[in-house]
């Protein structure tokens, strides 16, 4: 949990503007975005209150864990055990029953997500690797040329022309 927060903080710190540089949106943009936000919220609000939820709402509590197992019932918010069992692919309603078909578990999405996380983090580490940077101040905002020593070995150079 702390890891994600730390990641964001590092992002802020690594890319922080100088003390006298301020990135500010103009007032007009703020008003416009505020208006759009209010519109969106009113849309959501009206949808929520116009819909008839009573057809969906069931009696209190999730499907209870069979009492023979004696665990704290999922009714009172103790859903950790059912979630965990679902992630392994077993539904607690079916434990002990001899039916051939079990209700859907989430084992496959769990495996996919774990591989996904691995791939994503490797990709992020690759993307964020250190590259050399040439800072060449150019008139008119030519920008910075990244000098990348990529996999091809030979550095790729571009001439920056102060064309503007």
């Amino acid at each position: 949990m702390g890891g994600t927060v730390v990641l964001l903080i590092f992002g802020v710190m690594l890319t922080a503007s100088g003390p006298y540089l301020r990135i500010r949106t103009s007032l007009g943009e703020l008003v416009l975005a505020g208006g759009v936000g209010i519109l969106l919220f009113s849309m959501i609000y009206s949808t929520v209150y116009l819909a008839d939820w009573s057809r969906l709402i069931r009696g209190p509590g999730l499907p209870a864990v069979p009492s023979g197992l004696g665990y704290n019932p999922a009714d009172e918010g103790n859903t950790a055990r059912p979630i965990g069992m679902k992630l392994i692919g077993v539904s607690l309603n079916d434990v002990g029953s001899n039916s051939a078909s079990l209700s859907a578990g989430y084992l496959l999405p769990f495996e996919i997500v774990s591989v996904h996380l691995l791939v994503v983090l490797i990709g992020a580490a690759y993307l964020a690797r250190a590259k050399r940077r040439i800072v060449s101040p150019v008139r008119g905002g030519g920008g910075v040329v990244p000098l990348e020593r990529g996999g091809n070995g030979a550095p790729r150079k571009e001439l920056v022309e102060s064309a503007k």
């Binding site: 992002g11 890319t15 503007s17 499907p63 859903t79 679902k86 992020a124």
Partner: protein, 103 residues
């Protein structure tokens, strides 16, 4: 919890969602845009969990919310790497400066 109507939860999720959208739309700081994305995802999570509590969606809503959290973390990592690259290229994280396709 039994006496709170479902619509209140949905409204809280909606408020978070709208704040996230406004944040994404207005912030010029790249990391601020990322904050907006996180807000949107968490608003949707609240909706999922509320539905899981009140409707026959059951445990599935909470499992979906769990997966959304995991994927949000992964996406935050990638997005930060992209912002870092943006900074390396433009020397600023003002996303308004990323308005050229060349180079």
């Amino acid at each position: 919890m039994d006496s709170l109507p479902l619509s209140w939860f949905l409204l809280v999720g909606g408020v978070l969602f709208v704040c996230g959208v406004v944040c994404m739309a207005t912030k010029r700081n790249g990391i601020g845009v990322l904050m907006g994305v996180e807000l949107v995802l968490n608003g949707a999570n609240i909706n999922f969990v509320a539905f899981s509590r009140y409707t026959p969606l059951g445990i599935h809503g909470q499992v979906i919310a769990l997966f959304v959290i995991v994927l949000a973390a992964a996406e935050a990592a990638i997005a930060l790497a992209i912002v870092l690259n943006f900074y390396n290229n433009h020397l600023t994280i003002d996303v308004d400066k990323g308005d050229e396709l060349q180079g």
